[in-house]
């Protein structure tokens, strides 16, 4: 949570599709809430579950991983492997008390600037409604 307790969203964006999509959102001035902090990775397959668990361990409210649509990956198979890892990790984290909604995976292509803005806005609103992480 940042000072005015609006949620901190950490975004891992793949360089070839989603990061370019986020750039496209910029060039077409598609506004979205400023809660997200974006990290560039070569591929969604490069996003290590260790990094995601570290984010949640350190108290982050939400993590977004965005990659190419299946079939479009610049490295052919990166998002396929990522998809399996994140599906399993998300279920494990949910089981351990981190709501499934806090860890979101989206496929966003280089031409989907508007969609990137929509996803980030939706995600931020959802996290604001969900509120801070509750541990008894």
């Amino acid at each position: 949570m940042s000072e005015d307790n609006s949620p901190l969203v950490i975004g891992f964006l793949c360089n070839w599709c989603s990061y370019a999509g986020a750039d496209m959102a910029g060039t077409s001035r598609q506004a979205y809430p400023p809660n997200i902090r974006i990290m560039r990775v070569p591929c969604s397959g490069r996003v290590d579950p260790l990094l995601i668990v570290k984010c949640f361990e350190e108290g982050a409210d939400a993590v977004l991983v965005a990659g190419c649509h299946p079939g479009d990956c610049h490295y052919t198979e990166g998002n396929y492997h990522g998809r399996r890892r994140f599906a399993l990790l998300r279920d494990l984290l949910d089981f351990m008390g981190i709501e499934k909604e806090r860890f979101r995976i989206e496929w966003i292509s280089a031409s989907e600037g508007k969609r990137f803005a929509k996803v980030v806005s939706e995600f931020t609103d959802e996290m604001t409604k969900l509120g801070p992480r509750k541990v008894g």
Binding site: R46, L51, A110
Partner: protein, 665 residues
Amino acid sequence: MSRIGVFVCHCGTNIGGIVNVPEVVEAAKAMPLVAYADENKYTCSEVGQGSIRDAIREQKLDRVVVAACSPRMHENTFRKTVATAGLNPYLLEIANLREHCSWVHSDSKKATAKAIDHVRMAVAKVARHESLFPKQVGLTKRALVIGGGITGIQAALDIASAGHEVVLVEKEPSVGGRMSQLDKTFPTLDCSACILTPKMVDVAQHPNITLLSYSEVKEVRGFVGNFEVDILKKAKMVDHKTCTGCGTCWQKCPEKVTSEFDLGLGQRTAIYIPFAQAVPNKPVIDMENCRYQKYLKWTQTEEGKKPPECRICEKLCPTKSIAWEQQEEIVTEKFGALVVATGFKTFDHSVYGEYGAGRYPDVISSLQLERLMSAAGPTEGEVLRPSDNTHPKNIVFIQCVGSRDDKVGRPYCSKVCCMYTAKHAIMLKEHDPEVQCYVFYIDIRAGGKDFEEFARRAQDESGAVYLRGRVSQIYQDGKTLKVLGEDSLIGRPVEIDADLVVLATGMEASEDADRLAQTLHISYNIYNFLIEAHPKLRPVETQTDGVFVAGAAVGPRDIPDCVAHGSAAAAKVIGLLSQDSLTTDPLTAIVAPMKCVGCFACKAVCPFNAIEEQTTRDGRIIASVNESLCKGCGLCVVACRPGAINLRGFTNQQLLSEVMTLVRR
């Protein structure tokens, strides 16, 4: 102790307008290991880059963070800048304050806070950067051009004339693409075949060009300078080495089939060349419809009697070139560069129920009209109504069919239809002075040299009636087609009894362009048009080094633009192949031998087979990376539980430090 320099850019007002740049500079000064922070109006300008070079020398900086626009814009620019100041180019990190910050947030306070965070992350990451040194890799000085339309032909000719070997792959039996189906071309009205056929012949005869017609690209491996491509050569059933193209076979072949080239208006034989001036001018056999193939495939269970054995072409062929045993074949070739020029196809107007959904034979597409007007067409140039072969007098054109129409998912303008409809109006009047053309349009778009004058000529000299409005319905009333529309300039409904209706169908990406794009790892938009690296600054390059795109495959484009695009792509290829070696991207994976337990999970996930097995002195079998194959995706790093393999440029340490500086602020 590192000395990091942070350079925050105003980018005119693009960043400075929203983000409080001085505040970011002050914040940067307080960040660990930051020895110097400054701001620039335009960091990418000569002045801006100069200030970085001076600061590196004066402040003895060993790492640089540029907080400006997206790294996808100027990462290479600033790498060169720091390199000229004697710093290893990879000791640099870019913080994205424009596309990801100032351009998408209006709240200045929050945007500035985000900008500071992005700088904090860049500083934390660059602190863990190490010097990296690109390698020199040899390259194959051969180019592959995919698509034998005018764009592909132009690209192939230009590359070949620069002395490089070119392989031109064309899916159809002949090169020529859509242009070979045209009669005349705007705005000069010169005959399409006359200007195209010589170039087709040049391609076939050029010593440096290998033409693989009736072939498709199946798979592409490797990377810039060292592509390995599997090309499927479909079975032609005719030995093109011995065949002289005398024509006996396709004149005598008894099986008549609707011709795809003539868009269903004419017929061709089972053994055929698509059109008279086809290059190569040698036939292929259509396996689906050849009577002998049906004879071979006939089994007892099918009802009816056994089809005739035929084989007339084989009997009559003077050079015994019919080769029934010919099989499709996959050849694998090496290339340094690829040009994708797969062109376009016209919109299928049968989705428009209001225009008859393809049920009315006299409602045809513009390309079909081209075939009717073409001297080599099914009616030898006489414009006849497909229903009863009579001469049409009232001809109605409907513009924007499958363009500028959200209802059918084609909101874009196809750029060329207004011009070719004007051409049709002019030519039809010349063919038959009694013809009266009507054109229903939304806006006439004639932006090009001599284009507006040409469109004006269709109205003034050829007497075409231009009606601004859309057609609500067409229905068949006996022999005539009733066209119900509206003339919005006089605000009244209009009804025309038409003998022929021509739909100006828009341009679409060619068949399964998305599958080819996936094979080449280049991106494509929702209409399957290929996405260029930058719409303004890099129109013929793609995000994938060594893969270039040109022509209508990238978006609606007329012939002059396609030819220019083809030459542009060729220029890029020639520039690439003129080097003797290529510098590879050093952002590849690297193994720490002492940590590897030899489980080879990395080898299982590597899409590029870049992981090799190596035996250590103490007999352990561990992984090692073939750096010329590794593309730096990082899949292996995540699969490696002990963290024995790391990815330069995006190491575990660098990514973790970015996360830690973010969550612990």
